[in-house]
Subunit: 364 residues, 2 copies
């Protein structure tokens, strides 16, 4: 049956993260690695060899060349952010479905052009937020949207920090204004914003206000920042913090009227095959002593056969398969949450650039 | 030996929290309950009986009366915040040492008057922040100030929320402007600010900025708010969140250049006899797979024979004993950190009252 053919994915660029995603394509049961492209044929060959690519995988010495490859259904694009719009639009025009690394663009206007190109050409687009596809994430949502166990959200705090070394801070594309010009905000901050949106059932905040204390490198790239957000009607608030300058930490703490959710490894779980989270409902202090908790937090563990990045590839390939084999329309959920995440990234940047002014997202 | 005589503590007011502290005075080896006072003799008697007070404890039908009791060395004052200045100053003038509930005053100017009265009269003052005295807190400090395990602080987030019931929100003194007029900020927020200061080795922030989303009751009392803080030179930042409207949650997440500290029950430990915390140093992601952590967090548990509130009473009684029996001077550390905490409480309030403006603490 045609529907059983794995989706043929080409990898566009030899970024470090492409190693992980190449392995994920190997692991995903409904996808196969069809090609690799680099601006240098030699680099592409070396990448294919050192990442166990099958003999059948084609090696392209230019990005243009992989776009013309008729045996490629979809492209994984881990290029520097400043190149996303150019190559994602070209890929869409060639009818290639797109798995696009985050941040999806330098700003939401750029992303809207990518989405428009995908729409015109009927191709799927999804961003590379791996943890969204971990089976744990569904369990988090079950708890968060359970009015008995969690109630109504009041506050969520999310942080993602990583202690980059000197070489990274000076030489990585993540620290260069003309490549990944959004720095830590577009990278680590992307995840905290996505987590915040997920906890808010993807309702955009009404306001975004960066807080003082942003740190930039000499080239002006953001290495560390934080922001608060509000959803006015319900008096919900959120804070995020992201940094390249502090020990690896990745937290979500979501507090509702009845419950609390904590995740300590939301971006990359401590272990590949399982992931935990902590829930707490109707916690109180014992009476009259007031010296211990009633209903303290409890830990839950979710096992996974496929690592989260392979779950992501598998879901992407499934959607592509629906379009290719069954004439389905592209799924619009994934680009819609990419856009919302980018909108908030843009608003944090705008607030920082305007002396930490409050930014309204009304109408955006 | 005179130094072996327990310190005689009088309790000034029959607040709910006075039950817990009465038990703590019973438990503390160097303190004894000498007296109870209420504005009503009947209420005072009932409180003494129902809290297992010794026969020797005197019962006073007015606050004035307990101040005249020559067999009382020190007073525990859990009165509403708006009454602290009046009664703490009178107590100091009568030579009584003071264990004062938090928030210590309605504002720092009031607290300065209390401290001045204590200084003139040579009496000890300490606030009622119990968790500061848990042996776990010393272990937290050991980690935080270890340059190998934690490095330099970059960000700390602390929250304390409690889901108050309707009756509390309408009738508690904590929700009335003329009693505990600082609301959730002076109560739950006090602890988050104290935690933030502790993590910063009690260095005051340079700026405090409340973030949008403060919620007040009909009388204008703060039921929920948050703020960010900066320590500019080192680009350290902090965020706090406090609320009476969300499930019981009490967190510290402190992130340094090399390490991360997490505490999930910092105000009242899950259990009375032990308390845990999590540390993590030089965490990284495995290479090249990038699918799991190297050096993931590890949990540590600290056992305690005395509950934290008894540790607090014991430390207070020890300091009073040093003064009473050995002619020592009052210890100035405790009032100095009370003052800093109150200063930040005041700054958060000032920021909220001024449309979330940034408040500078320079020179305060």
């Amino acid at each position: 049956m045609a529907t059983d053919m794995p989706i043929r994915i080409g990898v566009m660029g030899c970024a470090e993260i492409a190693r992980k995603v190449s392995r994920a394509i190997h692991l995903a049961p409904n996808a196969t690695i069809a090609a690799i492209a680099s601006r240098s044929m030699e680099k592409a060959k070396l990448f294919a060899t050192s990442n166990g690519y099958p003999q059948s995988a084609k090696v392209h010495g230019s990005y243009e060349s992989i776009l013309e490859d008729s045996e490629v259904d979809a492209l994984y694009i881990p290029l520097p952010t400043s190149l996303h719009a150019k190559w994602a639009i070209r890929a869409a025009e060639k009818g290639k479905h797109i798995l696009l690394e985050k941040p999806v663009a330098m700003n939401v206007a750029e992303f809207d052009k990518i989405v428009a190109a995908c729409e015109i050409n009927g191709v799927q687009i999804m961003d590379g937020t791996m943890w969204a596809h971990h089976p744990r994430t569904d369990k988090l949502k079950e708890f968060l949207f359970d009015s008995d166990r969690f109630g109504q959200l009041k506050n969520v705090h999310s942080c993602f920090t990583v202690a980059a070394n000197k070489d990274f801070l000076e030489n990585s594309i993540r620290a260069k204004p003309d490549l990944d010009g959004l720095g830590a905000l577009g990278d680590a901050g992307w995840y905290t914003i996505r987590a915040t949106l997920l906890v808010n059932n993807f309702e955009l905040p009404k306001t975004v206000t960066a807080f003082p204390g942003t740190f930039r490198n000499k080239l002006g790239v953001n290495l560390s920042c934080g922001a608060s957000m509000t959803w006015e009607e319900d008096k919900r608030t959120a804070t995020i913090y992201c940094s390249y300058l502090a020990n690896l930490t990745m937290e979500i703490t979501a507090i509702g009227t009845k419950g609390t959710l904590r995740v300590h490894d939301f971006v990359i779980p401590f272990q590949e095959t399982e992931a935990s989270f902590t829930t707490c409902t109707n916690a109180w202090i014992n009476k009259p002593a007031a010296t211990a908790w009633v209903n303290p937090p409890a830990e839950h563990t979710v096992k996974t056969e496929l690592p989260q990045e392979a779950c992501m590839v598998s879901e992407f390939a499934r959607l592509v398969g629906e379009i290719k084999n069954k004439g389905a329309k592209p799924d619009l959920f994934w680009p819609s949450i990419s856009r919302k995440t980018q909108l908030v990234v843009d608003a944090v940047k705008e607030s920082i650039d305007n002396n930490y002014q409050q930014i309204s997202l009304s109408g955006r």
